[in-house]
């Protein structure tokens, strides 16, 4: 790893990503010694709740032999007394060997990382970045498709606010994947993301209809369209309905097409997909642990080199 902080998928090189995925595969095959990081403490600073991300980081550090220090719910933290994030992370830095930050404001992880010397991992900043989700998404694709080279990936749903989507798109660009973005017009990629992707030479196309591309896809990554993005209930129902998939939708897909979803899903993937060979979203969720173990292992081992 060339970075002490893991802020965005954009700032990870292809080599960095491959290092983490390779280590995750090793960990999957043979779990490391339970005392590998026996002295290491991981601070979990979650300024908004995210139970799964929190649990998987806690599991990861404990399976490496270390322990987690939890800031606790934000209502009981110093932030409610008006303490700045910059101050909070500087205090926590004194307690822990690495810090995981989840925060509702975009850019929070970047800013916080400027105030600490211990490795800081961004576990989601508002509508911004969520790089460890991206790493586990890529790991799932690599395990399922065998190789990240030459993939054709469809990404469907809320592409405007979906931060997992933006991180994933930056990372896939480093692997030169063909990317098809499928969304209602009102939820298409934000201008700044589209700009970046074009700047970095992404091969991308945008569509409003999955039918146009389903036959080509190696991976179909589905995200949720949230009710709160629409002023009107009827409009939401109508639009969300057009971006739902079921087993019938996948009849046109390639046999090996891998269907992924960051979970939780509501009804954007019908339960009848679960029994098909396409469904990989539970594996994807499970991969959170080996991938976060791999990342922590690499970051916490840097001092020893």
């Amino acid at each position: 790893m060339t970075h002490d902080h893991v802020i965005s998928a954009k700032s990870l090189s292809r080599a960095d990503i491959e290092t983490v995925l390779d280590r995750a595969a090793e960990i999957d095959r043979s779990p490391p010694d339970r005392d590998r990081h026996a002295d290491d403490l991981l601070a979990l600073c979650f300024f908004e709740p995210s139970t799964r991300t929190h649990m998987s980081f806690e599991t990861a550090i404990k399976r490496l032999g270390g322990d987690a220090l939890d800031m606790g719910p934000v209502e009981s933290s110093s932030a409610t007394k008006g303490e700045s994030l910059a101050d909070t992370v500087r205090v926590v830095e004194g307690y822990a060997d690495a810090l995981v930050l989840r925060h509702p404001s975009e850019g929070a992880a970047q800013m916080a990382s400027e105030f600490v010397d211990i490795p800081l991992i961004n576990a989601g900043d508002g509508a911004g970045q969520h790089p460890t989700q991206t790493l586990l998404d890529l790991y799932t694709m690599r395990e399922a498709a065998g190789d990240l080279a030459d993939l054709t990936v469809g990404i469907m749903g809320d592409l405007k606010y979906g931060r997992t989507v933006h991180s994933l798109a930056y990372a896939l660009t480093k692997f030169d994947a063909r990317q098809h973005f499928v969304s209602p017009e009102s939820l298409s990629l934000p201008r700044s993301v589209r700009y970046d992707l074009h700047e970095s030479g992404a091969r991308l196309k945008e569509h409003t209809d999955l039918d146009a591309v389903i036959e080509e896809l190696d991976v179909l990554y589905v995200t949720r369209i949230q009710r709160e993005r629409f002023p009107d209930e009827n409009e939401y129902r109508q639009i969300a309905g057009e971006y739902r998939i079921d087993a019938a939708t996948l009849e046109d897909a390639r046999e090996e097409c891998v269907v992924m979803h960051p979970l939780p899903r509501v009804d954007e993937i019908a339960p009848d997909v679960d029994a098909t060979q396409h469904a990989h979203y539970f594996e994807q969720a499970h991969n959170a642990v080996p991938v976060r173990m791999a990342l922590l292992d690499l970051l916490l081992s840097e001092d020893d080199r």
């Binding site: 008006g82 700045s84 994030l85 910059a86 925060h103 509702p104 404001s105 975009e106 850019g107 929070a108 970047q110 800013m111 400027e114 900043d125 508002g126 509508a127 911004g128 201008r191 700044s192 993301v193 700009y195 970046d196």
Partner: protein, 169 residues
Amino acid sequence: MNERDESEDTGDGESSEESAHELRISKIRNGTVIDHIAGGHAPDVLAILGIDSATDEVVSVGMNVPSDRLGYKDVVKIEGRELSQDEVEVISLVAPAASINIIREYDVIEKNRVERPSTVEGVLSCPNRNCITTADEPVATRFEVLDDGVRCLYCGTIIRRRLTDHIDV
């Protein structure tokens, strides 16, 4: 070299004929002259410097002054103020050909062309209300300078048009 001379002897292609016309703007004793602003952009420069109707500094503005190099140019003279590096860098975004002359006792003691920086710090504010730089944190805004705008280095938001709508006052 006094300020009058400086506009005659800029060595950057302006004719002395032009400066004869330029005398319409009064001299200043101490302060800054921002010259070679593209015609019509003086109000942008004033906005960046936070100069508005509530300002009590002595400010003279020349607009659409004939210029060999720019066709028409604007000039801003501010008595009693020297600009910060951060201000100069943001000015370069709206007036890429500008020169900044620092005047003391009617003499030009320093003359610099603005250079387009790779990033600008402070002065601009991020239009994303959910950006961490808009919260009460001890950081200045930082923007990467793009070919046709700037991008917040914290949240990624791009400002393309009307930079002067985003001055942090």
